[in-house]
């Protein structure tokens, strides 16, 4: 990448770590029809809005989805709206002895956003507030064929599907109406997404990260980083929109960057996300360095240490290693092969002096050197 090209990193890293609370812009773009562009108009109907999010222990959101949901709910709460979280836990499914640590942690993290504007309900408790008549009336609103399909092979397709799935749709609708929902946040495609009084915000399914390299005991920030780095390229824009989004201008840059350097783009996005959720950009970069060390199968101690004395240029420091002759080194610098792995999009110049302790410098594909300041 030439130095003159716009760097996504400049944009990403320099984003406000707490995204702006421009709800009209932010939410307006997230909503599917029928609210869509009319978000502003609709959002003025009633304040505060009631947002419903249903969490099912048998279909827990993936790590990335959990961060997306938390981020979006935070936006709603910070904009003064009320959130109701309905939890379909093991008690709902009749297994009172089972627990889910992931779900408990996630619910606690959501509650931690705001104790006054976020209310958590157990679906098994709410079930007692809805009678058979109401459930029936809700189910009347769906056509059976829309739920289970029709035509040949339908029976076979539904052979393992339980009737509970169907009742659940009716129950959810009854519940939304009882809770006077304005917005329902769903994860993945919802069956029911057309209602005159309710807007549906659908977060796309973000697959669980594959090939995560974390060793046991990885921190949550490392897990998030790895999850982002491992998402399929086609999901990246979704993650970006739902977890970072600020303004449309970034999307063009993102698309270009994603085409040119998908892995690097993901790393930068992961860095920003880690920064957003775990204490700033410094933490984000630290997580990235740790991740790259793990990927390389090395810890920082495994890299060849190179002294970077005061007054030195990077060229001087690298030349002192005798790994390359000075002419070879000049050629490598000129070819853009010398980079800081924390910021590998930008080739370093021979006179570079901005080196921090434990910065890892990559020279070509062969060497990685740890700078000791």
């Amino acid at each position: 990448m030439k130095n003159s090209e716009p760097r996504l990193q400049d944009k990403l890293y320099s984003l406000q770590v707490q995204p702006p609370l421009q709800s009209a812009h932010y939410f307006g773009r997230l909503f599917s029809e029928p609210w869509g562009d009319n978000w502003q108009k609709h959002s003025k109907r009633r304040r505060p809005l009631r947002i419903i999010y249903e969490l099912d222990v048998l279909a827990l959101p993936t790590l990335l989805e959990r961060y997306s949901i938390r981020h979006i709910l935070r936006q709603f709460v910070d904009s003064g709206h009320k959130v109701d979280i309905v939890v379909y836990d093991h008690i709902w499914y009749g297994n009172a002895d089972l627990t889910s640590a992931i779900m408990d942690t996630f619910v606690a993290s959501l509650q931690a956003i705001s104790s006054s504007n976020i209310t958590v309900h157990a679906a098994s408790d709410l079930r007692k507030t809805i009678d058979v008549d109401t459930l029936y009336a809700s189910l009347e609103m769906f056509l059976l064929k829309d739920m289970i399909g029709s035509g040949k092979g339908m029976e076979k397709k539904n052979s393992s599907r339980s009737m509970q799935d169907i009742l659940r749709q009716g129950f959810s609708l009854a519940l939304w109406q009882q809770l006077k929902a304005d917005v329902v946040l769903t994860c993945g495609p919802a069956f029911f997404k057309s209602h005159a009084d309710i807007a549906f915000l659908e977060i796309p399914r973000l697959s669980e990260a594959q090939g995560v390299n974390s060793t046991q005991g990885a921190t949550e920030s490392q897990l998030l980083f790895e999850a982002v780095v491992n998402i399929p390229d086609q999901d990246l824009t979704d993650v970006y929109c739902y977890m970072v989004v600020t303004d449309d201008a970034h999307h063009g840059d993102l698309a270009a960057m994603l085409t040119a350097q998908p892995l690097e783009t993901k790393k930068q996005l992961a860095t920003v996300l880690a920064a957003m959720h775990f204490g700033g950009l410094e933490e984000g970069i630290k997580v990235r360095q740790a991740f790259e060390a793990v990927i390389a199968g090395q810890s920082l101690d495994d890299y060849l240490p190179v002294a970077f004395l005061p007054g030195m240029t990077l060229f001087d420091a690298l030349a002192s290693t005798d790994l390359y002759s000075r002419s070879e080194l000049r050629r490598l610098f000129a070819g853009g092969a010398v980079r800081n792995i924390a910021d590998p999009t930008l080739p370093l110049q021979p006179d570079h002096r901005d080196i921090k302790h434990n910065d890892v410098i990559r020279i070509g594909k062969k060497y990685r050197l740890r700078m000791c300041v």
């Binding site: 709902w92 499914y93 009749g94 098994s124 079930r127 007692k128 809805i130 009678d131 058979v132 008549d133 459930l135 029936y136 009336a137 189910l139 009347e140 609103m141 769906f142 056509l143 059976l144 064929k145 829309d146 739920m147 289970i148 029709s150 339908m154 029976e155 076979k156 539904n158 052979s159 393992s160 599907r161 339980s162 009737m163 509970q164 799935d165 169907i166 009742l167 659940r168 749709q169 009716g170 129950f171």
Partner: protein
Amino acid sequence: MAQTLQAHLLQQGLVSHTVGAVPKQPKLAIVIWAKHPPRLDNAPLITLATIIGNQKPTIYVDDTAARVFCGRTVQEQEFFNNQYRAYGQQHGCPMFFSSELYAQYFGDDVLGALFELAARTSVSRFMRCLPEKKTTIFDTLPSSETMNMLLELLLFEQVSRGCNALVVRHFTQGIVLSHQKVSAKPLPAFVVPKLEDDAAIYGYVAKARKLYPDAVHPANTTVL
């Protein structure tokens, strides 16, 4: 139950067939949907159940499903329930209403019981239970149609607490079969043959009385 009686009933055409393993000492129940006032076509069920069980069957009246499907208030349904109470007394049959049973067993969590039952019931089984006339208009059926089956199964579950066999009409056997698949206490059933009109019903009851004059007959009614 003596095997000969079952064979005789089948031979005489009083029983079309049986579903499931019939118990030796059947304690019979009849399930009636309280959508309409008590009707003539219950008479063959009571007559047959009385012959087989040698005592009056227990009648389970599904007033919950009827009320929900007809969109009635509790008070409106009570009008029909009172007619069924009188009907039960007239025939000397013990009677239970689904609304009372659900309140007794599930309190305010009837949906909990319904969901639990729904979890054990597959969609394909529901499809097999749909009457033929409904399959032809499947594309227009609302999903509330599923509640028909589930509420019926839920009542069968309550029936199995007090009785061990059913006497049913022809069109109910699909539900009986489904109940056998999903229940820990499946109920076998004696299926009454199809009776097309009132004359057939009168004929059935008269034949049963003639063949089994010593059975505990239903009390005198206008139709019998």
